[in-house]
Amino acid sequence: MTEEKEQERKFLRLLEENKDKIMRLCFLYGKTEADRQDLFQEVLLQIWRSFPRFENRASFSTYLYRITLNVCMQHCLKGEKRRKRLVPMNGLEFIDMNRSNPQVMLQQREVLEALYHCIMRFGELDQSIVLLYLEDLSHEEIARVVGISRSNVGVRLHRLKKQLFTCLKEHRYE
């Protein structure tokens, strides 16, 4: 197997394992369905383009979150008018799933909408810290992704969690 094929195989395996994580973050930052799919595509493209530089790194997760959040933040900072629509990639299908219990789904969606609303009140770096916390990353891992010290993550997360729960209470999710 050629080196290029081996790299493709590795990329696709890691993508399959991590696509949900990428999707969650892209779906938060994208305002419309098209926006979200564009973001997802852009993240894939950027991961692939910098993939040769990843080769010798220890944690794919840190690398993945860094790229995803950097792309998402740049997308937000650009503003709607300055964004360009991407040509849809072949081989990528976003499928709507029919769930058996619409009531549960509705409840879940309400909780998530409240969560989104609260997260979006924070500044960009704080948003990232909260999202990584929700992804269940340790303080050490969050520090590596964001680029601040572990103790700084602890201090900020303590404050952010308080604000998050206060905000959720306002939305009657106690």
């Binding site: 999707m23 950097n70 299908e93 969560l115 964001v146």
Partner: protein, 199 residues
């Protein structure tokens, strides 16, 4: 709701969507888009080089062909300022599209802030490095030609309106897009530095 409930709700999201990947098609698409990305950057650089070569060639020839000394100076100014403009655009705020995308978020923000500041400074001084030399060059090149006084006045007014418009447009971009972006980036970075000091 406790912490665990919130994390669980987040990690279930989006429960009504899934992504299906067709590996070979996707790989073809990604490599094609990546190549297109590189091509776009090459074309952008090529376009600028062609424009600069054209301007240098055109006005370089005009220096020798025009009989008027003031026009010769004007052509030389346009030629030199075209090269200077290309150099300035090339050295400031230009990216290869994905620099530092795998850096930490804070490093990426610092990089972005630096780029935005450079762009703001470039656009705020656009009259100095772009508009003034070019407009002076164009006027000096044209005005000695034996045309009617009215056409000289009309040409001068047109140059002033055109360059004034470019100046206004640059100011608008700075005010509308770049300064708000600069403030957001600074705010994020200040907040993260304040937290470090509080530790």
């Amino acid at each position: 709701m406790n912490e665990q409930d919130i994390k669980q709700a987040w990690q279930c999201y989006p429960s009504d969507k899934t992504i299906h990947i067709k590996k070979e098609e996707l790989m073809e698409s990604i490599t094609a888009q990546s190549a297109q990305f590189n091509r776009r950057i090459k074309h952008r650089d090529l376009r600028e080089t062609i424009v600069s070569l054209f301007l240098v060639g055109f006005f370089g020839t005009a220096i020798f062909l025009t009989p008027y000394p003031v026009s010769k100076i004007g052509a030389a100014i346009i030629m030199l300022s075209s090269l200077w403009i290309i150099y300035k655009l090339h050295s400031t705020g230009k990216t290869a599209g994905n620099e530092g995308v795998e850096e930490s978020l804070q490093e990426q923000m610092k990089r972005q802030l630096k780029r935005v500041e450079a762009q703001i400074s470039l656009l705020n001084r656009v009259w100095l490095w772009y508009l003034l030399p070019l407009s002076v060059g164009v006027l000096m090149f044209y005005l000695p030609f034996p045309v009617s006084f009215i056409s000289k006045v009309m040409f001068s007014v047109l140059v002033i309106i055109l360059f004034g418009g470019i100046f206004g447009l640059n100011k608008y971009v700075v005010k509308k897009y770049l300064q708000p972006l600069q403030r957001r980036l600074e705010l994020n970075l200040t907040q993260s530095e304040q937290s470090t000091e509080q530790e």
